[in-house]
Structures are given as C-alpha cells and as structure tokens.
C-alpha cells in the first residue's frame, strides 16, 4: 500500500526489478502544502481607485518658473440627479461643454452596492478621442479629469463616476518597448 510499482519481475536468478516508490512522504507534502495555502488564502479582493487633490507643491524661489500654456482639462460635474455636465476647460476658458442624462444603474449584492454609468463612460471615451491632448502611445502624460459633486451625493455614486472616468483606456509605450493599456485620465476630486 502507498507505493507505486515501477517495473515487472526480474529474469532468472538476478535481483528482482520490481520495486515500489514510497508515496507517503509525497502525500504528506501535498497535505501540508494544501493546509498552508488554505490558511493563507484570501477570498475577498480589495483594491483601490486613485484620486488626487491637486495641491500645489512648495514654492521654489531658486528655480525659474517656465511659462507653459494651460492644458485642456475635463471637468465632470454631478450636481443634479438628472444630468452630468462635461466641460473641457483650458485655463479659465471653456472649450466645449455637453450634458449627459444621468441614469444610475444601481445593483446590490449582499448589501454591497455597485453603481455604473455606461452612458457617461461612453461619452467620456468619445470626448477623449475628440478633444484629449495625450492620445499618442509614446506620450507618458495623462489627460486630467476633475470631478465636482454636491455635498449630499452618497459615496457609492462618486465611486461610480470615478470608475466611469477610469473606463477610458489608451495604449502606453513603456521604456522597455512594451505597450500596455492604461487609463486615459488621471482623476482629481474637487472638494469645492
């Protein structure tokens, strides 16, 4: 028992070739490995969604400031329950503005809510294709999107909109020559 036969019988008076590999240490090893992996297993996968506060850095009087023209920034406004407003701004100048009807696709599973905005995600992708500044794969900079909300919106809806903004992807060529898919926007959460 607990062995594997590795050959037929011997011929004549020579030593028999019929031997067995002891499988017990092998089974023990498998059992210990399974126990370790089960104990350390993670069944819930947490991850994160990035947003920055766009706080200016400390002033550097020793470094001469370069005058660069302001970039186009997409402002996503969710201030009413009926619509989103997408506004492209370059500095204080409004380049383009459109409205997208707000349809909250809310799903609940075991108390955890998921909000999706497929129409908004599609519109943002279209807008980026038409107006985005950093569309080339060799361009390492990302376009900027700023999310504005009212004070009463529940957190889950904010996450839904940030998720929709990050849904637009573009290729990015890495220094190694490889190309990978990255979000087209970097999201800033406006607190005002």
């Amino acid at each position: 028992m607990a062995g594997v036969d590795v050959g037929g019988g011997g011929k004549g008076k020579r030593r028999t070739l019929d031997s067995e590999i002891n499988m017990i240490p092998f089974i023990d090893l498998l059992m210990v490995t399974i126990s370790f992996l089960l104990i350390t297993a993670v069944w819930s996968h947490m991850s994160r969604i990035n947003a920055d506060a766009q706080v200016p850095g400390p002033p550097r009087p020793d470094v001469e400031q370069e005058k660069v023209p302001p970039e186009k920034i997409l402002h996503v406004e969710m201030r009413t329950p009926e619509k989103f407003t997408l506004v492209w701004k370059q500095g204080a100048q409004v380049v383009n503005s459109i409205e997208v009807p707000r349809k909250d696709d809310l799903k609940e599973d075991k108390g955890k809510k998921l909000v999706r905005y497929p129409d908004l995600a599609a519109k943002i992708a279209d807008e980026w294709k038409n107006t985005g500044s950093h569309r080339d794969a060799s361009d390492r900079k990302l376009d900027q999107a700023v999310l504005h909300t009212d004070n009463d919106t529940a957190y889950v809806y904010i996450i839904g909109v940030i998720d929709a903004i990050y849904g637009t992807h573009r290729p990015l060529t890495l220094p190694s020559g490889k190309t990978e898919d990255v979000p087209a926007f970097n999201v800033t959460f406006a607190v005002n």
Partner: protein, 180 residues
C-alpha cells in the same frame, strides 16, 4: 528483537486455527485490501495547483468591521499606506480613533477634522525622520462606507491633503473586469 519484513499480522496471536484461517482469507477473499492512491494524489495535485494560482503574496488589508465598501471595476492594486476608515460617524486611522463626523453632518458644511489632521501630520513627520532624504509619497487610503454623504468624504479628503497627503486612494471591493 530483529526487524522483519512487514506482512500480515492481523489476529496472528489468537491460537485458534479457524481464526487464523479467517484472518488470512482462508482461500476466500483476503481481508487485506490494497487502496489505489492514484485518484487521491490526482485530486490533491489539482487542489494544490488551484490554491497556488489564487495565492496572493501581497497580503490583504481587511476593511473595518461593519463597513460596506462599494464595488468598482477599473481599479489598481492596494499599497502600503496609512488607512483612514469612516464607519458611520467614527473616523479611524490604522484602527485608532481619530475623531468623528458629527459636526460635518450637522452643519452640512466642509470643514477640517483637527484630530485626523494632527494624527496624519504626526505620521508624516515620523516617515520623514525614518526616511531622510527621500521624497514623501503622500498617499493615504480611505475606507469609506458606501452610504456616507459626499460632504464627509470631501472633508476627510481635504484634511488629508492639508496634512500632506494629496494622493488619496479610495478602497473598493474589486469587481472582475468585463473587458473592453
């Protein structure tokens, strides 16, 4: 006592002929049955392969008790950073109490949370002392309950930014990607 080759020993001590005949089979089916281990080993190997594929070496940060995180699809991996949890009206930094949101909820106005600010500022100073000459990453992870109003999230976000943590990440429950 010399070491002998293992063989059938069952009931051998009983000095009765019919018992020994029964124990050794006695021309009938033997009581010593061999167990096929091939299927068992196959099963164990499949389980080990599955568990190895789902193994995560980076560890996992469990969300605070009683906190329901929203789900999201376009996410990135967790990082090691101070964890600010907003559960109901209580604020926790790495599990330790750091104020509450009563004043914000009552006034419905954006305001700085002083206790949170002081704790985060202290953590920043400790990091700078431990890593001299290195740039401070300024990353903080927010664990926020899905029903918390935006004014509380904004106040926490702003407080973290003022304390030197402008890169804020929102912890979410990862949803499998549907593909593009």
């Amino acid at each position: 006592m010399p070491i002998g080759q293992p063989s059938r020993r069952l009931m051998h001590f009983v000095p009765l002929h019919f018992v020994q005949e029964k124990a050794t089979g006695g021309g009938r089916r033997s009581t010593n049955a061999g167990l096929s281990l091939t299927s068992m080993i196959d099963f164990l190997i499949v389980v080990v392969v599955f568990l190895l594929m789902t193994f995560s070496a980076s560890g996992e940060t469990p969300p605070s008790k009683g906190l329901q995180l929203p789900k999201a699809e376009n996410t990135i991996d967790m990082i090691d950073a101070p964890m600010v949890a907003i559960n109901g009206s209580q604020i926790l930094v790495d599990g330790a109490a750091a104020g509450n949101t009563h004043a914000i909820e009552d006034n419905k106005r954006l305001q700085r949370i002083d206790e949170l600010f002081n704790i985060l500022k202290g953590k920043r100073e400790v990091w700078k002392q431990l890593h001299p000459g290195k740039d401070f990453p300024g990353v903080v992870v927010l664990q926020v309950d899905q029903d918390v109003p935006a004014v509380v999230v904004k106040s926490t976000f702003q407080t973290a930014a003022f304390a030197g943590y402008p890169n804020v990440s929102f912890m979410v429950d990862q949803l499998p990607k549907s593909g593009h």
